[in-house]
């Protein structure tokens, strides 16, 4: 199970919002949506990122800490090393009667983009609820729409789309008619609320959790969430 870090060259950088960029790299990974990679800059750090796309490999990264700010200093032609793909991703059923509803909060939208791409390629109808604090923080609306998803933005300040949290928009969607599957990624509180809503409605749900990731390969135990559940091996998607 060779997971040596492989160097990729950045071919394109897309500004998503004031603090978030998508880095498009010069290669592909055999990955499923929801899987993650450990991105490494020699001498700096190594951290987990969900794949926003696998062919070409794309990572959507917000500059929120020293390592992500270091990645943001990279330019087209620079190298970024990736170890992976790692973990278990979202699992789409063979056939789906009804909609796939995606719920993304903040930077959690990144892996849902990859999932939307995969679902649309199979002809599944996709509704994407994308939430953020303000309109300036929203991510990937155009990319999701271009994939053919019905996009429902939600902002806490009401500057774009539905005013309130993604969970409010999800409750609306569930009242409209039950989807075949709900897949969500975002902050812990949001995921817990999404899980609760779906369980109450009897809708299958898959949740992608974040964790403090160190080895990424099931050895160190740092990413344990709850009762012995390893985010790196058992997740990051709980399904």
């Amino acid at each position: 199970m060779n997971t040596l870090p492989q160097p990729f060259t950045i071919t394109k950088i897309v500004d998503e919002n004031a603090v978030t960029r998508t880095f498009i790299l010069d290669g592909a990974l055999a990955a499923e949506p929801g899987q993650f990679v450990m991105a490494w800059l020699p001498g700096v750090d190594e951290k987990p990122f969900s794949l926003a796309a696998a062919n070409p490999v794309s990572l959507t990264i917000a500059a929120v800490g020293p390592f992500s700010r270091a990645i943001h200093t990279l330019r087209t032609g620079d190298a970024l090393w990736l170890r992976g793909p790692l973990g278990r991703g979202f699992r789409l059923p063979e056939k789906m009667t009804g909609e796939l509803v995606l719920v993304g909060g903040g930077y959690g939208v990144a892996p849902l983009r990859f999932l939307a791409e995969t679902a649309r390629a199979r002809g599944f109808p996709v509704r994407a609820i994308v939430g953020a604090r303000t309109s300036a923080d929203l991510l990937a609306l155009d990319a999701l729409a271009a994939l053919g998803a019905t996009v429902i933005p939600a902002t806490e300040d009401g500057s774009v789309g539905r005013r309130g949290l993604v969970t409010h928009a999800l409750a609306d969607a569930l009242a409209d008619g039950l989807p075949a599957l709900v897949c969500a990624c975002g902050p812990t509180g949001m995921l817990a609320a999404v899980g609760k809503l779906c369980d109450a409605a009897g809708v299958p749900v898959q949740l992608s959790w974040e964790a403090h990731m160190r080895c990424g390969i099931g050895l160190c135990g740092s990413c344990e969430r709850g009762d012995g559940w390893l985010t790196c091996l058992d997740g990051p998607v709980e399904r």
């Binding site: 997971t3 870090p5 160097p7 080895c215 390969i217 160190c220």
Partner: protein
């Protein structure tokens, strides 16, 4: 035919022992390993004070094995005690003994950590004198010389209220001499071996991959080294040996027993085969024994000696 076997005063349901440092110190994770078929489980090594460990990257599978330098992440001995107590309470109904593991920077500190950790009443105490990833004060000096290894063993044995197993390093000129020294100093068992120091270097950047630059090799690459060490130890001393290093499947476990191991450690297999690796290895071991007419683990022991 049975996998049940004896180790010191314990009767184990399987000869497989979860190695120290694998999936941490969490009671839930250690219990999960026990439910997955480990006959004993070892908690991650614990020192006197809390340690965050090394920054990332801390591990990599380079294809031939795994290199890691987690850096002895632990909550400190005082905080470790309630975790061990809870783990023992969860393991007890499963009939799985708990091995606590300790490290320290000085002989006196080893004794101090032993006293604290023994409050949790572990079934066995592993004395880690051989972690390769912590420079200067920790690990390497103690396992490298018979005198220092014996001094630590003696101090821990005097402070301990349970049997002790001393974990040896492979990178010594004559591991049998170290084994003899720790047994003479009171070791009830020996755990062999810890990881082997090594490096993974990225050819493009020219930089070591791990933040610690060097790390410990485990997995497939370690197995032949571990077999030789266990073989040398088993010929030199009479105490039971927890043979650890690169055991990934049933045949590997059979080889380790043949080299003289009493029971068999499993670590990196959790990465290569999943958290239920012990169950898979137990099944393969059972199949091997059935096909080759071995009725017990004892019958597999020491055939290479």
């Amino acid at each position: 035919m049975t996998l049940s076997c004896d180790f010191l005063n314990f009767t184990l349901k399987s000869p497989l022992v979860l190695a120290s440092g694998i999936i941490g110190t969490s009671p839930a994770l250690l219990t999960r390993a026990a439910r997955a078929g480990a006959g004993m489980v070892t908690a991650k090594s614990c020192g006197l004070a809390p340690r965050a460990g090394h920054p990332n990257p801390v591990a990599v599978d380079w294809g031939g094995g795994v290199l890691n330098a987690i850096g002895l992440t632990n909550p400190g001995a005082d905080a470790e005690v309630p975790l061990l107590v809870e783990t023992r309470a969860r393991l007890s109904p499963l009939g799985v003994p708990l091995i606590a593991s300790i490290f320290a920077g000085t002989v006196a500190e080893f004794a101090a950590v032993t006293e604290i950790i023994c409050r949790a009443k572990p079934d066995l105490l592993e004395v880690n004198i051989s972690c390769p990833n912590v420079r200067d004060d920790f690990g390497t000096p103690f396992a490298a010389l018979p005198e220092t290894a014996a001094a630590v063993t003696d101090a821990v044995k005097r402070a301990a209220t349970c049997p002790i197993t001393v974990k040896l390093a492979p990178n010594v000129p004559d591991i049998a001499r170290i084994a003899a020294a720790v047994v003479a100093a009171g070791a009830d068992a020996i755990t062999a071996i810890n990881t082997m120091p090594g490096m993974v270097i990225d050819p493009v950047s020219g930089k070591p991959f791990l933040s610690n630059r060097t790390g410990g090799i485990s997995g497939a690459a370690l197995k032949p080294i571990a077999l030789r060490c266990v073989f040398d130890i088993a010929r030199a001393v009479d105490v039971p040996v927890i043979g650890t290093g690169g055991v990934c499947n049933g045949r590997d476990a059979v080889e380790m027993l043949a080299a003289g191991a009493t029971v068999v450690g499993v670590g990196t297999a959790i990465h290569t085969r999943g958290v239920d690796a012990p169950a898979k290895i137990n099944a393969e071991l059972t199949q091997f024994m059935a096909q080759n007419n071995f009725g017990s683990i004892a019958a597999l022991r020491g055939r290479a000696l």
